[in-house]
Structures are given as structure tokens and as C-alpha cells.
Symmetry: C2
Subunit: 436 residues, 2 copies
């Protein structure tokens, strides 16, 4: 028969089991923290009407969409989880209680030109709180607290959540009469970590800003220090713009709330260069970096938006959210050897019957272990003991339980610790506690 | 602004949070049983090369595929999890240990004409064991044991796993010189539960079978009784075909293994009418029914196949697997009111501060509860106490924790059981145990 070469598309992540176990553990950790903070699960369709998904999109986003016709329908695959959320709350606003806290963990699709660290299909792990008309500023502090809880648990080393407020940026540029240029300038500033200060100056001068203005912009984004020092410096800037002053007020309040949450100060830092490329943010914005691995870029980002649902409804539904791009994060952590799946195994024990006559006893033992919440498997293949142990080794199982005729006769088992190589005889009745 | 009507496509399931919680609990139960039996997680791409996914497909399947071009690539969305598994094991056979036990829980896509109970996007929860060259018949018994463990835990009432062996069917038809007609006849027989015996007779006679043959077929598929009675009757049929005899031998062995696994006899039943429409099954096949709801049809099906990977590799990789169509199952169970999400809530408690001055204490309390693994939220909105309690009610939260100035002063809290309405004062330090 003519064979088809088994392969997948580039830009799609598919893992071997040990990596998949590790990936799922990370995903489960994220989910459990989201649930602990009261977020409700949501699972929107992968395929939606293009008209609905692309209500807001345009430019680069639209080019990346997987879009196609089926029957009479113009369809697209979701490219993020935020637009489906906006559609969902607009559609179901009578059926949900506000503030609506939801999480969604799922794949999204972007047909980008594949390059290292970029994926065409990737997991996003999102939370958002959506209010009806109003939304407490305390949520702006809750987001970093959630990020903190996740990354503390995931244990990739020290991290810092960088916080800014778009109102400060927008107000600052308004005070320079650069409101129309603001979003372009923000886009340039957003790259400061990647391209450095001089390149920023160069790009800004190419935008026909005079050097006094550029100096002011650079002075502003260079305000550094502790969170309190930065707040003081922002007030001392003498900017009279109301949006600016409101932004400073909000930022101060968020920092205060973070102290109430008892966030360790080392884990969050006001950073006036954070703008987030996306147009829809209107208040607090976040990025998160691993301190020991700055090259990874932001591993968790988000912010507040006033009106994401404007394309679907007249009601004002402000929200705030964060997103973890798990596929990219996992891939980077693996590349940097920050995570390691070498001995990843879900099983507690693999039972190895020496021959056919031991299988019934092995099944009895497996049933007993499973009833007591031990993940257990049996190797049924009738190969040599060497081949059987090799299988146990490849699975990286912590314990092998070897069953020969003697064990069957005495209702015992031989327990082998696969890491130390130690072996001991254990009574059937004692095995549950022995491997707990 | 011109609004886009927020809506999704028909044939796509999207749930409100209480239903989603219930759905996820079912999915988690299935996953945990799969893992307890040693299945490894897999997560293949949603999008694959059409050439790869459709290597085997044709006819009805191919018409249903979501297929499109992006750049130079001819792409399709996966329509099941079995073909991606076949591709995966062929592609990675050097990197995985055989027997390879994997589970995959994920969405698949079929652009069918939508009708009640049919979905275009739906979850499949699959397990398969794939061997390299050989695969113990004990796995044929392990599958029903896993089905049993899942549906016992899901608790939808009594169920029966119906078991057959395709070799018995194929051999029986060979003995009647109907090998070429066998798959057509099997397709007819497969409908017996839906259309009844007389309709089957009619359809078979339309296939130009003479009535003596039809009588034999009906006699055969009407063999009833206990599992042991059926096995005896099959041996007494006097069919000499070797495939038939091998099938009876296999079936007998599977039933014996099920007894070793101590499966309750009431939960499995040999049923010679089970054929499964799919062509690739070659041995044991299963269907599962809820005894009290026969109209639901099979809620978990599967079987053994000798060579699913033939399109990708010359190596013989036999397998056996089962699948639960969770989206359809959930939808049917809801419709029949077998499941109910009315009081579904993930939160253990919702903290309600009476006014702004109580928020800091509320945050302190929430942090303490979360640290002790209680899912906890705070209602920050500054509405009336009535509105706040209404929110707690809509969330169906088991406990509301009300914080007023007195509670703050005394470091206590007012705990309200939302189901009984009972209220009591509790010390801060005692709350963790109180709501456990």
C-alpha cells in the first residue's frame, strides 16, 4: 500500500508523553489557582462566524486568521479567548451574574509564518473579570496576586510583575499635545526592553518629534526607583492633565491594595515603559518576567479595558484580565532547561507478572491498588524479565512490583524502587501504605 | 456604532457556568479513571494536513470534514482522535514504549447538517492501547473494567456493557458464503435496536438473501441468555469456520478475564447484534447503555483493530480502544434530566464586606482561606446588602461570610449557610475547619 508520511504542520506543538505530563501539570496548576480565586470555567467554540470574531479585528490580526467557508457560512478559528468572551457576555448578559469572573484555558489559532518560539496553534490560559457598568479597582490588585500564586507554585525561580497604567501614559502624551501620536509612540516605547534607549530615541526622532519633547518622553519613561519613589516622582512631574492625575491615583490605589493582599514587594514593580501593544487597554496593565531569564520576555500579561463589548452591545461592560501563553512558555522553559520532564510519570506502580500463572494475582493486586487511589498498570506482554524491566524503566515508573509463583503462593510481592534499585518483599495487605 | 449580533453557529455547544462546571466534573472523572489505569496523556493538533488525516477517509466522513487552504497547505480539522493516534504512533514509534497506552480528551469537528443531539464540534474522550506486533487479550477485558469504573463513579444509574467479537460475525457469514455481503449485512444488523427484527428481515430480503439464510442469520443474532449460555450456544451452532471458532475462543477468554477483574456480572452482557459500523474493528467490540434510558443509545463504544496504522507504516501495530462522546452524552443527560446543574458552584465561600472599611479584613480572610485550599471569592461591589446576597444566591455558593464593622473589631465573621439560611458567628481562626 502507498504510505502517507506521518507528520504534522510546522508551528504546531505535539509532545511525547513525559513532556505532555509536565505540560498538563502546569495547566492544572494554573486552573486550580484560577478556581481558588473564584473564576468560573468557560469553553467557547473553536469555530465562530467570521463576522462575529472579526468585528474588531483588522490589519495583522485578520491576515493571520484561519478563515474558510463551509456551506453558506463564513467561518474563522478563534485567534484569542478575549473576543469570544466579549461575544459571550454580550450574548448571555441576562444569564450571568456580574461581576462575572471566568477562566478559559484552550487552544487558539494564528496562521503566522512559523519561527522559533512562535506557534500557529497554542494554549492561552485566560482570566477576566467583567463588570456591568462598574468594576472595583481592587481587581486590578487581585490580578497580580493571582499571577504571584501561580508562578510561586510553578516554581521557575524569582519573577517580577511589572505594572503600569495607560491613563498615565495617555495623559502624559496629552500634556505634550501628542494625543494623536500617542499610540504610535507607545508602540515604540513598548520595545524598549528589546531594542534599548538609543534605538527608541532614533525611532522617535524619525516620527518628527523635536528633541526637547523626546527628552521629556525619555525622562518620563526613565523614572525608576521603589514603587513609592516612582509614585512620588509621577506626582512631582507637574503634569496637570486630568487623565494623567487619575492614572497616578489609580496606580497608587492598586499598590496600596497589593500591600493589603500582602504581596511580597520584590514581586511587583511599577514600570512606566509597559504599554502593551493592544489598543483596548485603558487602565492598569501588566507584564511578568522571570528575573533569571529576561530573554523569555513577558510570560503573563494583561490589563484593564473599559469597553471590549462595544461591537456587540450598547451596555458598558468594563473588564480586566490576564493571559498566560502556555504553549510558548512551555517551549521556552524546555529550551532553557528550566523545566525537565525526564522522570515524569503518572503511575505509582507497574506490576510485572513473571509468567501467565501470575496474571490473575497481578490483576487482583492492581484492582486493590486502584481502589486505594494508586495509579497502577500491569505489563501483560510475555517477554523476558529483562524486557519487562526495560519497559518499566522507559515509563520512569517509581515502583515496579514483581510477581512470581512464590509471591502468588505467599500472597506477597517484590517491590522494587526503580530509582534506588532497592528491592523488598511486601505483604499484599501492606502495599497500599508502602507506596503512598 | 453598528452592532454585530453576538451569536454562535448551530451545532456547537456552549454552556453557562453551572453546566460548564458539571461538564468539567464529568470530564475530570473520565480523565482520572484513565490515568488510574496507566494511560498517558496526548494532545495532538486540531489542524493537520488533509493528506494525512484523510489517508483512510472517504464517502460520508470526507464530506463532513472542515477542510480549507492556508498558504500552500491543504488543511483539515480532526474529525476523530483515532486517526491522529494512528499517525502519532507511526511517526513516533521509536520514541514510545509499547504497549502504548494513551488517552486523549479533546474536541473534534464534523460539519454535519445539525440536528437534535448532533454536534459539529464535540468532545471525544478516548483511550487506546497500541501494541507493537502483539497485544494481550487481557486488554479486551480491561476496557470494560475501565468503562465500569467511569460510569459507576459518574452515577447515572445501572448500565450494561454489551460485548461481541467481530471474528464471530465475520466467520459466521463466511460459513454462509456471505463474506462479501458481510459488511452490508452487519450494517443492517447494527440497527436492530433502532428498527426491530421485522425491519431487519425486510432489509435483508431486499439484499436478495433467501429466507433460509435470513432465518439462520436471525437465529444467530437471537441467541440470548447468560454469558455462559451464549458461549455454549455459539459452540453448539456447529459452525466450522476457523475465524468463527477463534472469535468464540477470544470471547470466552475475555469473559473469563472479566471475572478475574471481578466485574459485576450484571454490568456486561454478550450481545451478538453488536457490530459497530466502523470497518476497522477486527475483534472484540463494545457498546454501553444506560438500562433506564435505552433511547440514549450507546454512551461508550469501541473495539479492537488489527492494523489502524497501515496507511502510514508497514509495521503491524494492533490496538484496542474505547471512546466516550462527552458533548452528546452531556446534552442527552441534561435533556432527560438525569443530571442537574442547579446548585453547581466551585466556590466554598463568598465573603461579603458590608462597606469599604471592611474590605481589608475581607482580603485578609480570603487569603487565609485560599492558603488553606478553600476556593474563596470576595464581592467588592458597593451595593446594598440585598443586592450582595442576591449575587451570592445566583452563584449558588454554599456559604456567605458577612463582614461588618463589628466582625472586623472582634476578628470574627458571620457565617451564613446559604441552603439552610442558618447564621452563626465564627472566630477568624476557626473558619477553615468550619467550612471544610
Amino acid at each position: 500500500m502507498q504510505k502517507v508520511q506521518p507528520r504534522i504542520l510546522s508551528g504546531f506543538m505535539e509532545l511525547l508523553p513525559p513532556d505532555q505530563i509536565l505540560f498538563n501539570q502546569m495547566r492544572d496548576t494554573i486552573r486550580s489557582v484560577y478556581e481558588k480565586f473564584g473564576f468560573l470555567p468557560l469553553d467557547t467554540p473553536v469555530i465562530e462566524y467570521s463576522e462575529v470574531l472579526l468585528a474588531k479585528a483588522g490589519g495583522e490580526t485578520e491576515k493571520q486568521i484561519y478563515r474558510f467557508n463551509k456551506g453558506d457560512n463564513d467561518l474563522s478559528l478563534r485567534f484569542d479567548l478575549t473576543v469570544p468572551l466579549a461575544r459571550y457576555v454580550s450574548e448571555h448578559k441576562e444569564d450571568i451574574a456580574f461581576p462575572f469572573k471566568r477562566y478559559q484555558i484552550g487552544k487558539v489559532f494564528r496562521g503566522e509564518r512559523p519561527q522559533k518560539g512562535r506557534f500557529r496553534e497554542f494554549y492561552q490560559c485566560d482570566i477576566d473579570v467583567v463588570g456591568n457598568g462598574e468594576l472595583s479597582l481592587i481587581y486590578d490588585a487581585e490580578m497580580p496576586v493571582i499571577i504571584y500564586n501561580i508562578f510561586k507554585q510553578l516554581d521557575f525561580g524569582p519573577f517580577v510583575i511589572r505594572i503600569n497604567n495607560r491613563k498615565i501614559l495617555n495623559g502624559f502624551f496629552a500634556s505634550l499635545n501628542l494625543t494623536n501620536e500617542a499610540s504610535d509612540i507607545l508602540r515604540v516605547i513598548d520595545k524598549i526592553d528589546k531594542i534599548g534607549q538609543e534605538a527608541i530615541r532614533k525611532e522617535l526622532s524619525e516620527m518628527a518629534l523635536d528633541s526637547a519633547i523626546i527628552d521629556k518622553i525619555l525622562t518620563f519613561i526613565n523614572i525608576k526607583g521603589t514603587n513609592d519613589e516612582i509614585l512620588v516622582a509621577l506626582e512631582k512631574m507637574g503634569v496637570k492633565d486630568e487623565t494623567y492625575l487619575l492614572g497616578v491615583e489609580e496606580l497608587k490605589e492598586v499598590i496600596n491594595h497589593l500591600r493589603t493582599f500582602q504581596m511580597p514587594e520584590a514581586c511587583y514593580q511599577i514600570d512606566l515603559t509597559i504599554a502593551r501593544g493592544l489598543d483596548y487597554y485603558t487602565g492598569t496593565v501588566y507584564e511578568t518576567n522571570l528575573k533569571d531569564y529576561p530573554a523569555l520576555g513577558s510570560i503573563c500579561s494583561g490589563g484593564r479595558y473599559d469597553n471590549l463589548t462595544g461591537y456587540y452591545t450598547d451596555e458598558v461592560l468594563p473588564g480586566i484580565g490576564i493571559s498566560i501563553g502556555l504553549t510558548r512558555l512551555f517551549s521556552q522553559l524546555k529550551d532553557q532547561e528550566i523545566i525537565n520532564s525526564e522522570r515524569k510519570c503518572l503511575l505509582d506502580a507497574l506490576i510485572i507478572p513473571m509468567d501467565d500463572s501470575c496474571v490473575n494475582y497481578a490483576i487482583e493486586l492492581a484492582s486493590y491498588l486502584r481502589q486505594n487511589d494508586h495509579k497502577t498498570d500491569i505489563y501483560y506482554g510475555m517477554k523476558s524479565i529483562k524486557a519487562k524491566m526495560k519497559y518499566a524503566n522507559r515509563l520512569a515508573v517509581p515502583y515496579a512490583i514483581i510477581i512470581g509463583t512464590e509471591e502468588v503462593a505467599n500472597r506477597t510481592l517484590t517491590l522494587k524502587n526503580m530509582q534506588t534499585g532497592d528491592q523488598e518483599s511486601v505483604d499484599f495487605a501492606n502495599i497500599v501504605d508502602k507506596i503512598r
